[in-house]
């Protein structure tokens, strides 16, 4: 187990270097950021040259990348154009997005799995058909539509919540955005759980459990659910990374100043340190989430062992 974890962690190093270089290269390909700083006005050549020199933009790409990597290992992720260091941007953005992701994941787990179990047990019944139809609707409506509609209904029409999230972004303000963010994945979790449960209800070990006369609750939770959760856990694990990076739309609608917002600004302003720094952290989150998912398999299914 320990050796497995170490091997996986070591594998992350080349992935980390490769992905940062790719992102660095792509942002670099977007073009020279200096012209945009001057707005609709042509930059005066001397000032532009000075800014380029300060940002090492005159060096060849590989040299810029080496300078950037060197700085990263000393804990310096560079500076955004508004003078704020990228590390402090991360310090303010990641906690917010992590809170949003936690809310979203909780919705997925609680509502998604509960609906999945319910429909899986009552296959073919009206409840099942109803929920299936509902998930179909949720999956087919884009996030920005549900986002704006729910924001308008809850925020303006009924006045239950504030339509936007304050800069501190406490958990209670993130419930609606978290739900919007979770909706599509929630629908997938429901469907995955349903299929998995439906399959396992016909498994031999379950018939055995029923024959032994175990209480129904114990059969469902210990035997049926635990065995059916493996595909769902895989999905939720990869979804953590997806939710954190893919929250751009939701964060924009509810004015949440998280990772998606900073990434969006960084891309618009062509600011390589912001984009590369944030994406690098997201890549790490993705890798770690995947590792945790793999380790969880062993917990859920003792037959799976890691050496």
């Amino acid at each position: 187990m320990g050796r497995y974890v170490i091997r996986r962690l070591l594998q992350m190093i080349p992935v980390f270097i490769g992905s940062t270089f790719l992102i660095f290269f792509m942002v670099y390909a977007l073009g020279d950021p200096v012209a945009a700083l001057f707005g609709d006005r042509a930059p005066d050549p001397a000032t532009a040259a000075q800014i380029r020199a300060d940002l090492h933009l005159n060096d060849p790409l590989w040299k810029q990348y080496l300078i950037y990597m060197k700085n990263i290992f000393t804990g310096d992720f560079g500076t955004a154009f508004n003078g704020e260091s990228v590390t402090s941007l991360m310090g303010s953005a990641f906690p917010v997005t992590i809170r949003l992701t936690i809310v979203a994941i909780l919705f997925e787990i609680v509502i998604g799995i509960a609906l999945g179990v319910l429909t899986g047990m009552k296959r073919g019944k009206p409840v099942d058909t109803g929920v299936l139809l509902l998930t179909l609707v949720v999956i087919s409506v884009p996030t920005f539509v549900t986002g704006y509609v729910l924001q308008y209904l809850f925020g303006v029409q009924w006045g239950w919540v504030s339509p936007s999230v304050s800069p501190e972004a406490p958990f209670n303000e993130l419930i609606l955005p978290g739900l919007v963010l979770a909706l599509v994945s929630l629908a997938y979790v429901t469907r995955l759980t349903r299929t998995s449960i439906a399959e396992n209800t016909r498994a031999d070990y379950l018939r055995t459990a029923v024959a032994k006369g175990l209480p129904r609750r114990r059969i469902i939770v210990r035997h049926l659910l635990r065995n059916s959760l493996i595909p769902v856990v895989t999905f939720i694990g990869t979804d953590v990374g997806f939710l954190m990076g893919g929250a751009i739309v939701t964060e924009r609608i509810f004015n949440i100043h998280g990772v998606g917002y900073q990434l969006y600004q960084g891309i618009l302003r062509n600011n390589a340190p912001t984009v590369v720094g944030f994406v690098t952290i997201l890549v790490l989150v993705f890798l770690i989430a995947n590792l945790l998912v793999d380790l969880l398999y062993a917990v859920l299914d003792p037959r799976i062992r890691y050496a």
């Binding site: 001057f38 969006y264 618009l268």
Partner: protein, 550 residues
Amino acid sequence: MRGATRVKWAVGVTVVALTAAACGSSGDSGGSGSSTGGSGGGIVRASWGDPQNPLEPANTNEVQGGKVLDMVFRGLKIYNPKTAKAENMIAQSITSTDSQNFDIKLKTGWTFSNGEPVNADSFINAWNFDTQLKNAQLNASFFSYIDGYDKVHPDAQGAKASATTLSGLTKVSDTEFKVRLNQKFALFPDTLGYAAFDPLPQAFFTNRQAWLAKPIGNGPYEISSYTKGSKMELKKWDGYKGPDPAQNGGVELRVYTDNNTAYTDLQAGNIDLVDDIPVTQLRNVKSDLGSRYINEPAGIIQTISFPLYSPRWSSANSAKVRQGLSMAINRQQITDQIFQQTRTPATDWTSPVLGDAGGYKAGLCGQECTFNASKAKQLIAEGGGLPGGRITISYNADTGSHKEWIDAVCNSINNALGNNKACVGAPVGTFADFRNRITSKQMNDPFRAGWQMDYPLIQDFLQPQYYTGASSNDSHYSNANFDKLVNQANAAGSASDSVSTFQKAEKQLVTDMPAIPLWYQNGSAGYSTNLSNVALNPFSVPVYNEIKVK
């Protein structure tokens, strides 16, 4: 590893916060600004965008940072919010006998909010700092008229500065200094209301980083807290002695990434002032807000500029094609249909906010800027037709929703020419890339251009954009007659002479049409019932210090 500890921390917090959420969510409907309290304190809660650059006067060249500087700083002059006329603020008088040497006397008693006096040194030190090449200030070129600029800020790439102070600035006493320009410039005093010319306190020079984290100025507000990228709280500075103290207790600026959300927040009573009404809401805004919706001209003109350096547009006959294209655009229809009258069709190259005395002249462009499909077709044919039979109009696709109106302009041209393929829009992914292609002279076909004035002067609309080799002459237009008239106007003895000579120069643009004037952009804003006395200044920025809170 940072991320990992944070996850652990966040998970721990979840449990606590979820219990808190259970109690908190029910009592939250009244608006969340508990830390600032929208009512009672007389705070204006206003929408904001993240300033692109650090908040230094000479490093701020966009509206969002400009808003803050407007509240926190006062310069030698200020532009009257209603008439756009430059009026003395800190300056007691600015006099000159030859339009080249200016004597600036300051009023006494002005201080920065940290107690430092505002004196001649505050200006001289600031202007020297702003100009120095090593400080890479985006607005350094505004000081280029001052003698000695080329020594402190040599324009050639890689050149080293041979001086650190502008030789054209001489201190006479604490309340007086002299400015010598390197050319005659009659309207120079009127440019001094621009934020780049603001004074800076000693605190800026002793610890610039600390100052940038929380700028200290001499205006009606002081900054009480600033969280970069999310919000800024300003409170009324009680020590302010100027003639325009704040009429409210303070301003809270909140960063919105999406103006739709800001508008929704206004409807929900979560915010008081939104100064950018989203295009999608223009249809509803009148019924939603009634008289609390402001829509008035701002000092912004939109044009379609031509790359006159490209062989496609450099021939002598090509001016006729450009005139023809101008006449093929149905400005009225586009401003009505697409912009819901938040743009006004342009008939010259300046802006109505200048007023007649300032140099705006309705109809100066004449029939060349009036829609006339048959004449347009005829002129383009006389000019040899569109180069290669078709043109594209470039725009940046990332911000500003330009696609709709570019497509409409092309449609209008195609209809006039009876050719469906004559004109198509050419989107460029990002604004940065778009500007890069323009400044590195890579364009072959017209591109959209917008000009927001720095100061309400006709000079600012003409010289930077159309004078040979000027800083923002994206078309690389060059005409000896135009340049001669601009020089004459700058050297004129009086402001009115200067303005009328500038208008003569502007007439040359009708003949050559280096850029097609499209429309003047309006500033728009909406506010809640909590506020009164809300107005926009000529730069389409709300006049925050005059807003009254109920």
